[in-house]
């Protein structure tokens, strides 16, 4: 039996009176790759941010790698250690060099010796192909480079799950490919991933499962072949016709 990495059961969330997430049920198995799409404001970000508790849910259960997310701070920190997150605007730490950005969490959270953390950081920088920038500051890098650094920073914690929230939508077209290449490589190595993205080419190559969200609900959840060829719901059809 494959292990379940993420389980969301009957999750509901409100911002005041506004019902953002409506009865979300989702299971992600180890090594599975999900791509989430949907119109703006449909709750995609909110859903994946609930998985590492950047947002709180009010109803239902979220279990990540066997740990249920509750108010317990220890649980939250344990989950966050195993879940990497990549943001639309990179969110690198501008006062630290690239190398320090990467070494920070391993040294402070995993209590790794500095030398080991540095080796690991350089290894992952090599993998995203920017080892030569290690001593620069984030402000001195291009957007694409910054996003690759952000991915390397996440990987340095050796997470079991990676969440991507529109990682390429703040990038110029010529930089999108370099970031998607890194993500594709990661997917091929068997990382469990949830990506919110509108890069449908990427989705077709890597996704095991496509999710379409609208107005806080998961409207459709099916393999890419089926999702793109004959989507079940009208809303999905409409959305796909608009973006393809």
């Amino acid at each position: 039996m494959e292990t379940k990495m993420i389980e969301m059961k009957g999750v509901n969330k409100w911002y005041g009176d506004f019902h953002v997430l409506k009865d979300i049920n989702l299971t992600v198995k180890k090594g599975e790759r999900l791509v989430v799409c949907g119109p703006s404001g449909s709750g995609k970000s909110t859903m994946i941010r609930c998985i590492n508790r950047l947002e709180e849910h009010q109803e239902g259960q979220i279990i990540v790698d066997g740990i249920e997310l509750t108010d317990d701070l220890n649980h939250i920190e344990n989950v966050r250690r195993e879940v990497g997150m990549i943001f639309q605007h990179f969110n690198l730490f501008p006062h630290l060099t690239i190398l320090e950005n990467l070494m920070l969490a391993p040294t402070w959270v995993r209590k790794m010796p500095r030398r080991e953390a540095e080796e690991k950081a350089l290894y992952y920088l090599e993998r995203v192909k920017i080892a030569d920038q290690a001593l620069k500051f984030p402000g001195q890098l291009s957007g694409g480079q910054q996003q690759r650094v952000a991915i390397a920073r996440g990987l340095c914690m050796e997470p079991k799950i990676m969440l991507f929230d529109e990682p390429t939508s703040a990038l110029d077209p010529e930089m999108i490919k370099e970031v998607l290449d890194v993500m594709t490589e990661l997917a091929e190595e068997g990382m469990t991933m949830i990506c919110v993205t509108h890069e449908m080419g990427f989705a077709k190559t890597v996704a095991d499962c496509m999710i379409f969200m609208d107005q806080g609900q998961i409207v459709e959840c099916s393999p890419p072949a089926e999702f793109f060829e004959n989507p079940k719901s009208e809303r999905t059809q409409l959305f796909l016709s608009q973006i393809l």
């Binding site: 920190e77 966050r80 879940v83 969110n91 730490f93 959270v109 984030p138």
Partner: protein, 344 residues
């Protein structure tokens, strides 16, 4: 010549302004130089020694110099003050020696040093004669108050700023209440309360040092201002920074310590230094609770019958010394800002 041409005489209007400024300087500078240096009297026993000359009576400063620096601190014990300040200087020099861990020096300055300095200043142990804080004074007292005020109000202000942005209602309310209460009253009244009213509330026999009370009053007062300056910096840091740090598994305190505060404090260096400078000058207010800081002691000396008529010299000297300290702080902050610049 090219520089002159480009900057001072680029247009007829500009040339006119330049000439006018030169003329005004020509009018103002010679009499000032005359008064300050050429016609001044540099030594003497009383005001009478200065009578023959038109210029400043620096003999007054010269004669009272020791008192201006140490107040009424007994002269046979003044080496203790010197020693403590030399010690501090040596510790600070450590910051500029490459290879020495800065955090270690900071810890040394913050924990053992104040204790050592306190013992040196007030005595009573290690075979040192006890010297009551009522005898402390002059520039020495000013530096003690400013130093303690700065080192206490800075961390306290940071905690208050964090408290004001906390999610915990109790902590937030306490921080807001404290900041708004303290900011709403003048420093003079805080000092009065600390020196006059506090003893009324304390039980009989419990009585702690007047200087200590003033120090607490000033530190709390400046902490409230510091908190608002720091909060301005905290607000300028995008939410994404906290989110990124937390998503990596860093807890609240580590996130603040490693990610948010380094960036926020860098942004508010000008405001922090502004508060430090204000604090340095506000120390003069201890005069009203009967302590003779630098300004107080200079002012007191001008009323000495032997030196009547030297008030101007006293205040000019005072202003020059305060200016020197404040200007150094300002320059130092500029150099820190430059060093921390990472181009974002």
């Amino acid at each position: 010549m090219v520089w002159l041409r480009r900057n001072l005489f680029s247009t007829p209007f500009n040339s006119g302004l330049t000439l006018l400024t030169l003329y005004l300087l020509w009018l103002a500078i010679p009499p000032i130089v005359d008064w300050l240096f050429l016609q001044a009297t540099w030594s003497g026993e009383s005001r009478a020694a200065c009578e023959p000359n038109e210029g400043a009576c620096w003999a007054f400063i010269d004669a009272r110099f020791n008192q201006f620096i140490y107040g009424l601190y007994p002269s046979e014990a003044q080496w203790r003050v010197d020693l403590a300040f030399i010690l501090l200087g040596v510790l600070f020099a450590g910051f500029f020696i490459p290879g020495v861990r800065r955090s270690w020096i900071a810890v040394l300055i913050l924990i053992p040093y104040p204790l050592v300095a306190w013992i040196l200043f007030s005595g009573g142990s290690w075979g040192l004669e006890e010297i009551d804080t009522a005898q402390w004074g002059g520039l020495f007292l000013t530096l003690v108050i400013a130093g303690v005020g700065i080192t206490a109000s800075f961390p306290l202000g940071i905690l208050l700023a964090l408290g004001r942005r906390s999610n915990l209602l109790v902590i937030r309310s306490i921080s807001i209440g404290f900041i708004e209460l303290i900011r709403g009253v003048p420093l003079i009244s805080v000092l009065f309360m600390a020196s006059v009213m506090l003893p009324l509330f304390l039980p009989e026999g419990v009585n702690f040092d007047k200087l200590l009370r003033a120090l607490i009053g000033i530190s709390l007062f400046q902490a409230a201002y510091m908190a608002e300056v720091v909060r301005g910096g905290l607000q300028a840091i995008p939410k994404g920074q906290t989110e990124a740090a937390e998503s990596l598994g860093l807890g609240y305190w580590r996130t603040m310590q490693l990610i948010i505060l380094p960036q926020a404090l860098k942004l508010v260096i000008p405001g922090v230094v502004n508060t430090f400078i204000a604090l340095f000058k506000d120390t003069t207010l201890v005069l009203i609770i009967g302590m003779f800081d630098f300004l107080g002691i200079v002012q007191a000396a001008t009323t000495d019958p032997n030196w009547l008529g030297t008030a101007v010299e006293g205040y000019v000297f005072c202003a020059a010394v305060y200016w020197l300290f404040c200007f150094s702080m300002s320059r130092y902050s500029v150099s820190i800002e430059r060093k921390l610049d990472t181009g974002h």
